[in-house]
Subunit: 306 residues, 2 copies
């Protein structure tokens, strides 16, 4: 069994070259900076444009990180897919390379599917991967998938696969749901990560494991400081500081906005590129975003120049 | 340029073996029966559980049909995917083998994407495939994807790629939308297929091209009779007959229900299998469904025994 990841994880942004191919060089540099700033790597999440990547592209990018010496123990790759075939291929590759865990979104094409169907999906993947090192974090994002990870489903999965089901990322944005997950299952070793640092202090106070949040891509040190100091004198001030940055990004279309900000701090316009159907941020809103960040004394210290 | 498909197409059901692998033998038999009953093959649509298949599985099943002598000219495979990489691989393979067209769903993971982003997606696929034989049917299914194919998007795509954009499947279920697509673009050679035979006579009367409908899988001859006779004396009676069958299936969860009915007429319980997250139909609702179909004198004449 791999050591459990706790703390602050980034759904790492995926850079693309001008001809829209995944850019391993920029990806390695970004992930290394995140790790240097105490962030775990939830590569291939929603904010990674993972759905816009093929299975082979995700595997090649993972291999590139590993070859560059980024530790697998810091990784929680997204390996969910609409097809069990794809999910098994991704999960098997990740587990074989010793990742800390995998973050699995349920199949998201069909709507109105039953808990029985979602249970059967996870069950089939677990059985096919057939590896004791497998640690699955269930990805609850009902607004986007319309396929919720219900408390009842967690109960059934934990009962049947207590070794393989390690926790959840809760992207519902609903504190009551995160709280219910933690209150009900944290004692069984089920590690809950809300999807925003805005809930980090609250979650840690009742037994949550950390957070997996988009803005860890741009503010890893600030959010990590909340994780390490939430119960100390400066905890509240650090939480407010992190929230201030979060709110600035939340007012934008997050993925293109974060890429634009990285491109500024990397002095590298190539970072602005997104894959369709997303579109890059226009210059006018980008200028406003950068002005807001300057006002908040935002910085990305030590970010490598492109 | 391939000859345009018109008429009645089935989003062909995809059979699976007991261990949930795609079953090429049953698939060939099913598609051959459909073609024998004058249906075109919109393989890998929503009702084909296409989202539950990997790219390699879709390509292998297409090859199996071609190797079995099913004509590519009858095929309109679904080649859309969340990732341009996957969409290009599927589309390139289909076009190279001479299919009549491809049915492309827009990328469906991200919500609230702009027409600019969806345009960029189709544009990128068309440019990468780079083949004059490419004929794309845009797949409009807003309830499921939340990424609509708007009239404005069709206009832009037709203007930029008049040879590659061939038409649309309209799964909105909204006659006014199908009518607007036909009224606005049919004269430019844009072939519109509503997603239900219930709209077939109406669509044909104003210049629609046919229909691509789930229930063509079980009632191809009955729906084809509407296509050939809608403007003749018996047209209305045939439309009512087809609608009666449609309504019976529409009261169920369509994919497992159609598979259950095929399993009955094929005398082959193996046909009941679906891939997660779908679940097979239970016996009690199946008995009620089969009773309703018997009352309506439903039959699948000549369906091959499994």
């Amino acid at each position: 069994m791999p050591t459990r990841l706790r703390g602050v994880l980034a759904p790492a942004l995926t850079p693309f070259t001008a001809d829209l191919e995944p850019d391993a060089g920029r990806f390695i540099a970004h992930c290394r900076w995140l790790v240097d700033n105490h962030a775990g790597l939830a590569i291939f999440g929603t904010n990674s444009e993972a759905a816009s990547l093929s299975v082979a592209e995700r595997i090649a990018l993972t291999d590139a990180l590993l070859d560059a010496g980024i530790p697998a123990a810091k990784m929680m790759p997204g390996t969910g897919a609409c097809s069990i075939t794809d999910a098994v291929a991704l999960t098997r590759h990740a587990v074989r390379h010793g990742v800390a865990g995998v973050l699995m979104i349920p199949p998201f094409y069909y709507k109105g599917v039953s808990d029985d169907g979602v249970f059967a999906y996870y069950s089939e993947v677990i059985e096919r991967v057939g590896d004791d090192r497998l640690a699955i974090y269930l990805y609850h994002f009902p607004l986007l998938t319309q396929v919720p990870i219900t408390l009842g489903l967690i109960e059934r999965l934990l009962k049947r696969y207590p070794r393989s089901i390690a926790g959840a990322k809760d992207s519902s944005g609903d504190w009551n749901n995160s709280k219910a997950m933690i209150d009900t299952y944290a004692a069984s070793g089920f590690d809950v990560f809300p999807a925003s640092e805005a809930l980090l202090s609250k979650a840690l106070a009742i037994g949550g494991a950390g957070c997996i949040s988009a803005t860890v891509n741009v503010n890893p040190a600030g959010i990590h400081a909340v994780f390490t100091h939430w119960d100390q004198a400066e905890g509240e001030r650090l939480q407010v500081q992190a929230d201030t940055v979060r709110k600035i990004f939340q007012a934008t279309t997050m993925i293109p906005a974060m890429k634009r900000v990285v491109s500024e701090f990397a002095h590298d316009p190539g970072w602005r590129t997104v894959r369709p159907p997303l579109t890059a941020m226009d210059d006018v809103p980008a200028a406003a975003l950068l002005a807001s960040l300057r006002d908040a004394q935002f910085d990305m210290p030590g970010y490598p120049r492109g």
